[in-house]
């Protein structure tokens, strides 16, 4: 993993800066590339050192599942939650613990781009919030987020096998 870090670290300062990330063309083209980058730079730092790099990437390790007799999707609860938390953070840019409609809209806009009109975006966002928002505060909290995804196989979706 260190090799990877080094290859990204263009100016060899021992830590990564936003330019390094942007140099990756693919990431730049990614609709939520900016957000992913932001996730790496936590709490206003300008650089990412190796340990934080690893820590973030550790979110994407495939989890080992322990299965018990009930056959439910039991895994180390922390890892699934961690993955969910990461995803949640991608939405929640202002870190207030909720995804507001505006934030949802932004993400949707980034993802859907020019395919839809503003109104459609609104409607989609509105519907999404309706579906998930159980306490009717017009925003999706982390618990609601988790709940809406409880049936989805997060681990398959958010794992990079390379990181085992």
């Amino acid at each position: 993993m260190f090799i990877l870090f080094e290859s990204l670290d263009r100016d060899n300062r021992g830590c990564l800066s936003p330019d390094d990330f942007e140099a990756l063309g693919g990431l730049a083209m990614n609709p939520i590339g900016g957000r992913i980058m932001e996730a790496f730079f936590s709490s206003g730092q300008d650089t990412v050192d190796f340990s934080s790099f690893v820590r973030i990437l550790a979110h994407f390790r495939p989890t080992d599942r322990n299965r018990n007799k009930e056959g439910a999707q039991q895994e180390l609860p922390s890892s699934r939650t961690r993955k969910l938390k990461f995803a949640f953070q991608l939405y929640d840019m202002d870190r207030d613990g909720k995804i507001s409609r505006e934030e949802l809209l932004q993400v949707l806009r980034a993802m859907l781009g020019l395919q839809v009109t503003e109104e459609q975006l609104q409607s989609i966002a509105e519907r999404a919030i309706q579906e998930a928002d159980l306490d009717k505060d017009d925003a999706i909290s982390f618990d609601e987020f988790k709940k809406s995804l409880e049936k989805t196989d997060i681990d398959t979706k958010m794992s990079v096998s390379f990181l085992k």
């Binding site: 409607s123 519907r127 995804l149």
Partner: protein, 755 residues
């Protein structure tokens, strides 16, 4: 919408046609994949004695059985099988424990016994491989990721199985005690190739009931599919080889090359035909009635062409169906989709029934050659080798998987290898030069029966017992979709970061390619469409349907209607379909906000509207702001049930400028609080409605039958039924009760907007 059984149905349909065709012609076709028809009664044997009798009186009542014999018998068989199917669904408990295939076989056995005692010939058993592979659910396979694994299992697994079984059987044959020494290695290999073909039909039956987790399901299923290509090649290779005195290494290589040609060629053809079909349907907006025909015919064509080149027809059909499902689905009308779906299901259901039925019948009626040793060992080896094969293969492939298969999964995989009709077909079509053909046939039937009955019945409790990971049949929600897409993007990004090109990357690339090029070509009005939007449309559609299905008096709130097609072309208007209507509403609304303004001005000449345009404009503007403000507000009203939060828009007449042709005729028994201005019969002008803030319900303008009624009489009826709040153009707009409408309804009717 060409969902479960999409390709299956097409396959089936094809086969039914084949049967009938062959039946009527009474000939035995020679196909590479050996379609055999068992002794068949010639249809034209019934000589009419009619002319002879002419010297007598004209017979009043004649019976000419032979003339109708073939279709008659076929119909009877189908009916019989269907009755059987009805029969055991009456006892629901049975179907839980015993898979349908077992029951069908049993009934077949009984009927066969009956027939045998009467010395009847069983009807034609069309044993083309295609015939049996009908029940293929069109799982949207995450192909890129799983493809390799599926491929791996299928190809290598089948090879492993057949060679393993063949060799061990050969070893057994050496033992004099069993008296089968005359079977040489090649014949054994041939037989084992037959036996190792896992049958998707049987597997499908079982696995679906048990709902194992998707990964497992996909792998088993894909294996069955690809199995066909492998088996066919092996079979041909071995049968060719069985007749040859000497085997050379060159032949082996040729065999391998052939396999690739067969498999990939099949897929290529399938995709080709799928594209052609999609392209064709792009232009069928005027001839909606024959759209299903295209679907079926193209599938059939794919099958035939594949047969022509002796490549895997099953693969061709499968890929054709998959491609069609994706693209054609967008082009055809709703009704065509429904038609296709229903025909497919029906045909698939019949064929499933029939196959197992025949299996049972033929079991009884053929001459068997029984050899305890051989058959028992066959069973044993089939089982053992499959287990071993799965074990070894998973060991090899697990490192490449993100979520490895664990022991339980492997057990499921191994145990789920039911043999079925494919093996049966192949066994039947063994060339007669093989001395021990009957033995092989018997053995095959034995294996099939064993696997289907024993394994089929026991697999369910076993899987539950050992807790194979189950699938979660998600309710589709827009949330899940959004989040999943987000995650996919994330993963693509992260993988970029790691310099890894794995499945997300390819998927991303493919989607881009798809959106940019393919969709433009193949889909009428094709635009890039994210899966989120697609799902959203679908969900809204469902909601709309649900709401309109409820027959209650005051139907509350239509779902939020979003413009999903910025350009509503007139073709859409002419859709006699509800959803399109609803879909258009919002769009039309928004567009017409602005149009109204202009129209108002233009109107003055024709219909003297006492209001000056200004007032109207004000109202319109207010209307617009209200709409905008409504949206966020409506969510805060917690006392309003969920459905009410949506915008309700009675499906008014679409205010489309090219509107002449399309009118919707509403048989409206529900009151709409709509305000329609009826200054005259002809010109009507929708006004922004006034909300009755007291009510929390939005009666939905019930769209009854939608026919194209090119007349304006409709509105007359409406006007009569509109009890309240008929807003006349003449009235002044000074009422300012617009401020806090909870909902908005407007009936925009613009017959004369084109003017």
């Amino acid at each position: 919408m060409l969902t479960e059984g999409g390709s299956t149905g097409t396959l089936l349909f094809i086969c039914m046609i084949l049967i009938l065709l062959h039946g009527s012609r009474g000939e035995i076709p020679s196909k590479p994949i050996a379609a055999t028809i068992l002794p068949f009664v010639k249809p034209n044997d019934g000589v009419q004695t009619y002319p002879e009798d002419q010297k007598n009186n004209l017979p009043v009542f004649t019976m000419n059985y032979p003339r109708i014999q073939i279709p008659f018998e076929i119909t009877l068989w189908v009916l019989l099988a269907s009755f059987a199917k009805i029969g055991f669904h009456v006892y629901h408990k049975i179907t839980i424990w015993v898979p349908e295939s077992c029951l069908l076989i049993s009934i077949g056995l009984i009927v066969g016994a009956i027939m045998h005692s009467v010395h009847e010939e069983p009807p034609a058993v069309l044993t083309s491989n295609v015939f049996f592979l009908y029940m293929l659910p069109l799982i949207v396979l995450d192909f890129v990721a799983v493809f390799m694994q599926v491929f791996w299992f299928a190809v290598v697994g089948t090879l492993w199985n057949s060679i393993g079984i063949g060799i061990s059987l050969f070893a057994i044959c050496q033992i004099p005690a069993f008296g089968v020494q005359d079977i040489n290695l090649q014949e054994n290999l041939l037989f084992s190739a037959i036996i190792s073909a896992v049958d998707p039909v049987a597997v499908l039956n079982v696995f679906e009931d048990v709902s194992v987790n998707e990964q497992l399901y996909i792998v088993v299923f894909g294996e069955c599919l690809f199995n066909d290509a492998v088996t066919v090649v092996l079979y041909n290779m071995f049968s060719f080889v069985a007749e040859m005195p000497v085997v050379e290494p060159v032949d082996v290589f040729i065999g391998v090359a052939r396999f690739f040609i067969v498999g990939l060629g099949g897929m290529a053809f399938g995709i080709l035909f799928g594209f052609v079909a999609a392209f064709t349907t792009r232009f069928t907006s005027k001839v909606r009635e024959i759209e299903p025909l295209f679907v079926f015919m193209y599938s059939y064509l794919a099958y035939l062409v594949a047969e022509l080149f002796a490549i895997s027809s099953i693969m061709a059909i499968i890929t054709c169906a998959l491609t069609m499902k994706y693209y054609v689905e967008e082009n055809v009308s709703q009704r065509s989709c429904t038609t296709i779906r229903h025909v497919i299901k029906m045909v698939a259901s019949i064929s499933e029934t029939l196959i197992f039925f025949f299996l049972g019948v033929v079991t009884i009626t053929t001459d068997h050659e029984w050899n305890w040793g051989y058959i028992l060992f066959t069973l044993l080896f089939a089982f053992v080798w499959r287990g071993l094969g799965i074990l070894v293969l998973t060991q090899i492939i697990n490192p490449f998987r993100t979520i490895p298969f664990n022991m339980k999964d492997q057990f499921g995989l191994a145990y789920g290898g039911l043999r079925g009709a494919v093996s049966f077909a192949l066994a039947f079509t063994l060339p007669d030069t093989i001395g021990r053909k009957q033995l092989f046939v018997t053995a095959t039937i034995a294996v099939i029966l064993f696997t289907v009955f024993l394994q089929g019945i026991s697999i369910r409790p076993l899987i539950e017992f050992i807790n194979v990971r189950r699938t979660n049949r998600n309710l589709e929600t827009i949330n899940v979709e959004i989040h999943c897409r987000l995650m996919e993007h994330t993963m693509a990004g992260i993988e970029d970061l790691c310099g890894q090109w794995s499945r997300f990357y390819w998927k991303d690339k493919f989607m881009k390619f798809n959106n940019r090029i393919l969709r433009k070509i193949l889909i009428r009005d094709g635009r890039a469409e994210s899966s989120i939007v697609a799902l959203y449309k679908k969900l809204e559609l469902q909601n709309a349907m649900e709401i309109l299905d409820t027959a209650s008096g005051n139907i509350s709130a239509a779902p939020s209607i979003v413009s999903l097609s910025p350009n509503v072309d007139s073709s859409k208007l002419q859709k006699k379909f509800l959803a399109a209507d609803l879909r258009n509403i919002h769009d039309i609304l928004s567009k017409n906000m602005y149009k109204i303004r202009e129209r108002t001005v233009a109107y003055r000449g024709k219909h003297a509207l006492p209001n000056d345009s200004q007032t109207r404009e004000i109202l319109i503007r207010r209307h617009a702001t209200i709409r905008r403000s409504l949206r966020p507000r409506s969510f805060q009203s917690s006392n309003v049930p969920r459905t009410h939060k949506y915008f309700s828009l009675p499906a008014g007449k679409s205010l489309e400028s090219r509107f002449d042709a399309a009118r919707w005729h509403y048989t409206d028994d529900h009151e709409t609080l709509s305000e329609v201005a009826y200054p005259s019969q002809r010109s009507r002008f929708g006004k922004p409605a006034r909300s009755s803030s007291s009510k929390a319900m939005i009666p939905l303008h019930r769209l009854g039958t939608l026919e194209e009624v090119p007349s304006t009489d409709v509105l007359n009826e409406e006007s009569s039924s509109t009890g309240q709040g008929v807003f006349r153009t003449n009235s002044s707009y000074s009422d300012s009760r617009v401020p806090h409408p909870r909902r908005l309804y407007s009936l925009f009717d613009d017959n004369n907007s084109e003017l």
